[in-house]
């Protein structure tokens, strides 16, 4: 399985609050994840790192070899509780939270779980398909047909999230499944990429690059070239 990953602080920020995971060492499945933290005093970095660390622990102990959907849901709930408790307990971490998008690929099927506005895409020569729905104020209005994509692009409330991991005692995790074909590329990225590089562009780069890592490096360079106002993280695998 060809894969690639990279996280970059971007061109404007001084701190990278993104974190990611890619584990393809399990024979039965591949796990990938991205998390984009938020909250002052480095708390955002703590939230996204904790979410990924917890996911990794879950992957190593329970794993995602069976009942993937249920396990993704319970894993998200556990991570949410874990971070929420931290933020309540320690005032330095008050209000911290993170987005979390996790994809499990098993037996030719993609299981994606999402909270927040990081994204999971499937790309092949026909299309780039956004699998997850953003939990953002503006994107939900777009889905409801109240805003056009164009209006959403420059909306002042663009970065407002409807929910995040760790900000409330409970969380509503979205689950998606998708059948994968040979050659499909599964991409997870934070909004530092999806806000800075157009989807068609993402597709072109992934399809024309010589391998996935080269494509990821190019995508991140492109996001920085377009301004790089946020941290940028992308993880991708190509199905074989």
């Amino acid at each position: 399985m060809d894969f690639g990953y990279k996280t970059d602080v971007g061109s404007m920020r001084s701190l990278n609050e993104d974190n990611f995971l890619l584990n393809n060492t399990n024979e039965k499945y591949t796990v990938m994840a991205v998390a984009d933290g938020m909250g002052g005093h480095n708390a955002g970095e703590v939230a996204s790192a904790d979410a990924i660390a917890y996911l990794k622990g879950y992957d190593e102990s329970t794993g995602f070899s069976t009942s993937i959907k249920n396990r993704l849901l319970s894993c998200f709930e556990a991570i949410n509780t874990f971070i929420y408790k931290q933020s309540v307990k320690t005032s330095r971490f008050a209000g911290m939270g993170t987005t979390l998008t996790v994809a499990v690929i098993a037996r030719g099927r993609l299981y994606a779980a999402n909270v927040g506005d990081s994204r999971c895409y499937v790309i092949n020569k026909y299309e780039i398909k956004q699998i997850t729905n953003d939990h953002s104020f503006v994107e939900e209005l777009v889905r409801l047909g109240k805003l056009t994509k164009e209006e959403a692009k420059n909306h002042p409330e663009k970065n407002k999230l409807m929910q995040a991991i760790g900000t409330e005692p409970t969380v509503n995790t979205d689950l998606f499944t998708e059948d994968l074909k040979k050659g499909d590329i599964v991409l997870l990225c934070t909004d530092g990429l999806s806000n800075m590089v157009a989807e068609e562009e993402i597709k072109n780069i992934l399809l024309t690059s010589e391998n996935v890592q080269t494509a990821i490096d190019t995508l991140i360079a492109e996001a920085n070239r377009n301004g790089g106002i946020d941290n940028i993280t992308a993880v991708a695998v190509k199905i074989d």
């Binding site: 404007m12 001084s14 393809n24 984009d36 938020m38 005032s91 109240k146 407002k160 391998n211």
Partner: protein, 703 residues
Amino acid sequence: MNSMIGKILSNRYQIIEQIGSGGMSIVYKAKCMLLNRFVAIKVLRDEFKADAQIVRKFNIESQSAASLSNPNIVSIYDVGQDGGTYYIVMELVEGITLKEYIENSGMLNWRLALKFTVQICSALEHAHKNGIIHRDIKPQNIILTKDGTCKVTDFGIAFTGNVNETRKIESDIMGSVHYISPEQTKGIITDARSDIYSLGITVYEMLTARVPFDGDNAVAIALKHLNEEPVPIKDINLPVPLGFVNIVKKAMSKDINMRYQDAQEMLNDLELFSGDPTVFEVGEQTSIDLQMTRIISKEEQESILRQIEEIKAETSQDNDYEEKTESRKPVKTYEPEKKKEKKKSKEKKKGNFFKELFKIENKQDKIAVIAAIITSVILILAVSGVAASMFFPSFDLFAIFTSGGSEFEVENFEGKLLEEVKEQYKNHKIEFIIEDEVYDNDYEEGRIISQTPEEGMTVKLPAKIRLTVSKGSKEFSLQNYVGEDAKQAKLKLNNLNLKVDEKNVFDDDVQAGYVISQSPKAGSTVRSGDVVVLTISKGADSANVIVPNLIGKTAAEAKSILEDNNLKIGSTIRRSSSKDEGTVIDQSIGENSEVPKNTKIDIYVSSGKEKEETPEVTPDNPSVTQPSQPSTPAPQQNPAPQSGTQSQQNPAPQQNSTPQTSTQPQQNSTPQPSAQTQPNTAPQQSSPTINTQQNTAPSLDIR
């Protein structure tokens, strides 16, 4: 941020206590030492001060808002920065927010609501006239003082928009989304009419004690702003005169062009209505939209008219809200004290045209406001003793900070050794509770990672301080990565929170992109955050060199020439020749051929005129001895010494050189200039990240 307390900004403002906080700033009570008065200071949160765009907005907008001067606007006195702390100095208004007031008192008597509406509207009128839009009008931003004056705060500094870097979650916008106009939902640039809409919603809430559009989340609420009509005010609060209802409806119109076009226009209608509460009851008035009035049936209008008459008739024993508040015991207890403080004549502050309307109710309104303030203060009191200062003027605020006896200002313990801290405070009445012990990469074992309460907080003694202490970073045994795909190895190390330092070297034996060696070795104990050095193969050295001419040289010269050219000597084959003995008469790869570095080149050396049937092979290259067993007759070798037999005789260098040289023209012919299109070099190109980034850059332009 609590470390701000006690600080003096710009040698002038001493921070006393935190009195509020918002998404981007924290508000403190402070003392202006120059003018000897208390002020409120809004300080931009630390995480935003590095952002030039936000700081610029913070400055520009607050400076323009500072030009406003109106009794219904919280004044801005000063804007400044001190050592990277950006702040705005504002009038300190003691009171409660309109939101708290509504929560405490329920629906407002419409006369009181009207009075507040006029004040807020005149504040807006003043601001709009000066070109300043509030953008975030809501009851939370309106403060009611003890004398019943409304003061609008956060003028021009509610700059939530256009800041790309701030990510907020829903709870932060929930407070505002109830009041935002449909065009704000659309993200369209807002003007004065958006403030009018938000004011309409605010008045609706005053009259009904509920927001007109509510839902489970911000999106649901925004949708209602766009699509739904609110429950009619009179369904909830029947006594509100139709004229007032219609003013609110017009302000709340979804179509921006149907609204009052500025605050002055709305103020005019409020004035007309105050003079004659029946004025807008019928749909003929030009300033009221006809469509809106049509919604209410004639019967309803008549019943409302009747009720208004009834209300007018019984002004003295009026409605039950006042009765409710008057029955509250605390009101009576504290009223005299409050009254003493009110020396100013508040009548002056009101527009003359309201005198008529309010003169009967003023006293009761005042009582209602005071009651709410007091209730609110009592609530605060129950929570924190600090608020006592508001109640008991003699209570010295500074006592808290100067007393060494029963109170203690919490220090910073973060990063300190737990044992040392315990030792240092063993005589204080402080109990340190280890709440959690966690692995941490930044702090060594035994050091304090975090504390509750935070630095700068004041606690009563005896106190408990909860600590999270580091167990150091997690230790584990390093796996073996030698022989593994470097990309996979790097991923695994990354997943273990280990840093990878990679060295890429040429290696003839290890396939390109695979790990040759690692440091520390497998089985070593490492901690997360440690660096693991991976030596990764770039494959055999692929750089090509040009084969020099060796013919006519001596064997020894040939060897040194080859070495100078990064080539190696292969077999030395002796053959009879007319040339002097020891002279090179031929070479396995011709002059000017391009071959990979370190390719072995066989030389044919003259053995003199004597005929020798079998070529002698030097022990120089033992591998050659096998294929060149002397079974082959010499004459066969002679005609074609160059390619055919050579390749059979010495397969090793040939294998190396053949594919390399053959792909060379391919590489040159491909349109892309960079080497990465060549499949052979691909794995090693992708491993060093920086390399690939540089390499891919030109391909972007080609696209």
